[in-house]
């Protein structure tokens, strides 16, 4: 079976999407001639021509505005905004046009746009290149938000996102681009419907909830916890809007403890939403309050401080121990 890095798996997904549907268009800064700064669109322009895979000016708002127009005209745009931090100038188009068009047109117009967004930190990049914007997008009604954690998930979720008639914000964890996995993208996998989570590791003493790159960090933590006889379940949320509240509740009702782990700052982060959902659904099952391990409430730091900022294995294990020790007073 072939081996793929996440960037290669996404490249294959884009290639297959273009082959299967002539309406799929790929565009953004440097996606054509250069093949994308992370090589995700490598070779696609040569294969599908400059009318379907093309470079845009450095103007994120225009990229998203163009995607709206193309979607109205019947295309399936798959724009890329080169880095998470550069999507701020496009928020107006995303929140005011992309997210609302279906609602505003009373269902007449669909917005089958998949915005690919290299996201999150972990590669010691300069400022504006390591943001975690999932809560911002998940809060906007009309948008779906998804973040893959592995190459095979990257492939299947991207295919699913492009096939979706609604706009999907596709957050690619940059620090996992080089992570490799063996899988066969031509094999018809049983693909769960949008909005479902995945148990990345089963366990009984608590659930670690994560998405994107933090799934790998939680798997490391779970492996270390197992040395101490603590079996942690790792739930890869995958879809951040809609959130798989049923899957979340099933896991936590069984393990009775939960720690939510994300890279974004704590305050008003998506961890608060996940934590609230768990409390609403599993209050009587919980043996301890839901803990959150997150980035700090500061702008994303420079590369030198990144390891301190991102949730570490020790911070995760400390939160787990807090839930293990908790006694109702």
């Amino acid at each position: 079976m072939p081996e793929f890095s996440l960037q290669q798996a996404l490249n294959v997904a884009l290639c297959h999407a273009c082959e299967d549907d002539d309406r799929v268009l790929i565009f953004g800064e440097d996606v054509g001639t250069l093949g994308g700064v992370f090589r995700v669109t490598d070779g696609l322009r040569d294969k599908f021509g400059e009318h379907r895979v093309f470079d845009t000016p450095l103007a994120e708002s225009a990229i998203m505005g163009m995607a709206v127009g193309l979607a109205v005209a019947g295309w399936r745009p798959v724009p890329e905004i080169q880095f998470d931090g550069f999507s701020y100038p496009a928020i107006d188009q995303i929140a005011n046009q992309v997210a609302r068009m279906h609602y505003r047109s009373r269902g007449v117009l669909n917005m089958p746009i998949t915005l690919r967004l290299p996201s999150f930190g972990g590669i010691k990049a300069p400022e504006h290149h390591g943001e975690s914007l999932e809560a911002l997008f998940a809060h906007v009604p009309g948008l779906k938000v998804v973040a893959p954690a592995t190459p095979s998930e990257g492939y299947h979720l991207l295919r699913q996102a492009i096939a979706d008639p609604d706009p999907v914000i596709f957050l690619e964890p940059k620090s996992r681009y080089w992570h490799r996995e063996t899988f066969d993208p031509t094999e018809p996998a049983e693909i769960p419907p949008p909005g479902t989570s995945r148990i990345a590791r089963p366990g009984e003493h608590g659930t670690l909830v994560a998405w994107g790159a933090m799934v790998a960090r939680c798997l490391q933590a779970a492996e270390l916890a197992a040395e101490d006889g603590v079996e942690l379940e790792v739930l890869d949320l995958r879809w951040l809007k809609p959130i798989d509240a049923d899957g979340l509740a099933r896991s936590v009702a069984r393990t009775r403890r939960a720690v939510v782990v994300h890279e974004a700052p704590l305050s008003a982060g998506l961890g608060a939403e996940v934590s609230a959902l768990i409390t609403e659904r599993c209050f009587a099952d919980l043996r301890a309050p839901v803990q959150r391990v997150t980035g700090f409430d500061v702008p994303y730091p420079s590369g030198a401080l990144e390891d301190e900022y991102l949730p570490s294995v020790d911070r995760i294990l400390t939160a787990v121990q807090t839930t293990l020790e908790y006694r109702r007073g």
């Binding site: 700064v37 590669i123 300069p126 080089w178 101490d228 006889g229 294995v313 020790d314 293990l324």
Partner: protein
């Protein structure tokens, strides 16, 4: 994966060549950016050059005690396709300080 070759940098005004005193890495080594790479001697001084790149050393173009001109190939690295910003994260075995204890009940 890509190969990147670095030429001997201009080490100071008027210097057109340098001699390799000692390689601090060997072919096949993994080198971090800014880690010591090579010790060079010019007519003015001996200097240690840090690695301009993280990557695996594919080729050392000159041997020790050999002279080379500024701009001539010094070392070739094999690097991951890292894009234009940032570095490829290393997959390290995680270190831990915190141990866990299951509750007794």
């Amino acid at each position: 994966m890509a190969e990147v070759t670095f030429p001997l940098p201009d080490l100071g005004e008027g210097l057109i060549s340098a001699r390799v005193l000692e390689w601090l890495v060997a072919e096949g080594d993994w080198v971090e950016r800014n880690a010591p790479l090579v010790e060079l001697e010019t007519t003015k001084s001996a200097v240690e050059i840090p690695s301009p790149q993280s990557g695996r050393v594919a080729r050392l173009h000159v041997g020790e005690d050999e002279e080379l001109a500024v701009g001539a190939p010094l070392v070739t690295f094999t690097v991951e396709d890292a894009g234009i910003v940032g570095t490829v994260p290393e997959e390290r075995k995680p270190h831990r300080r915190v141990r866990l204890t299951l509750p007794e009940d």
